[in-house]
Amino acid sequence: MASGEVTARIWRGGTEGHFQEFRLGYRHDQTVLDLVTEVQRRHDPSLAYRFACRVGMCGSCAMTVSGRPRWTCRTLVADVVDKGAVTLAPLTNLPVIRDLVADMTPFFEKWRKAGGRFEAGETPAEAFSTITHDDPARRAVDAGIECINCGVCYAACDVVRMRDDYVGPAALNRAWTLVNDARDAGGPARLAQVAEGGCLACHTRQRCAQYCPKGLNPTEAIAGLKRRVTAAALKGEL
């Protein structure tokens, strides 16, 4: 992997704005987030961007990197530099606060709208739920549980772009982990919540799965929800 020089075109402003160019050197092991930090520390302290963990855990550093959403703390400059340049913009499908910072409020509001919270039920559980490792429902939860809420899938999804009411892949992936949680008491009400403005609107084009930095497959979770929702409707439970 090479080191070299790169022209970083960085979005400045809010919804209206422009790209500002910075000419920088980069090292073979430097991440896109490091590059942005360097710009902010050495060239323009007014640049706004967001990060916390720098190791791919918190989900706060996602941006649009040369046209596609990525987690910038685990993306090497060397891997994305194209013809000596890289273009950095805030995540799409979300309002822009300033520079590289998108407003995540709609993302988390939809998470709530899709019932993303564990429901304990009215009465305390009388006994521990026994869940074995090879239980198929447990496996389905495992497949989706590592989501870091980075919003990459949300920014990548065509249906999110086209439909204001669509809750998006991450929220549905979360709902699927709860539907498969033996301890969750959400029941048919949870399924009704994910049907409307939810799983039925998905086009199954898998852009979410293609770009998810954690390698999750929200499309598969959504397909599972479609099956559950259909079964519930046929049984008259919705």
Binding site: R163, A192, E196, L200, V229, T230, L238
Partner: protein
């Protein structure tokens, strides 16, 4: 719009699509057979007039197409014209009814 109605419409869209596939194949095969020796209105009407089978076949075809197209356009305008569910459903219903009436008249003309 209730979640239940949404699910039923979604299912109807898939089911009508699944039904259309074999009907279209049968329709194409029938055309190929019917045009052997030239396209002749009298020959076609002779086959379909008074036939419960052809009447049922084409009416099912028309109903499935009207349902499928109406529901498809409903999603399409919701996405591309950014309409909310209510107006999008209204447009889909109107289109579906127009197709159903036009197709129904054509089938009646062949069979009755």
């Amino acid at each position: 719009m209730s979640a239940r109605l949404d699910v039923w419409l979604w299912l109807a869209h898939r089911a009508s699509g699944a039904l259309l596939a074999p009907l279209i194949v049968a329709h194409l095969v029938t055309i190929v057979i019917a045009v052997q020796g030239g396209l002749d209105a009298a020959e076609i009407v002779a086959r379909t007039r008074g036939s419960v089978f052809w009447g049922g076949f084409y009416f099912l075809f028309v109903a499935a197409a009207a349902l499928h197209a109406g529901l498809g356009v409903r999603s399409f305008v919701a996405e591309h014209a950014r309409l909310s569910n209510g107006p999008a459903t209204a447009i889909g219903v109107v289109l579906g009814l127009v197709l159903l009436v036009m197709g129904g008249r054509a089938v009646a003309g062949l069979v009755l």
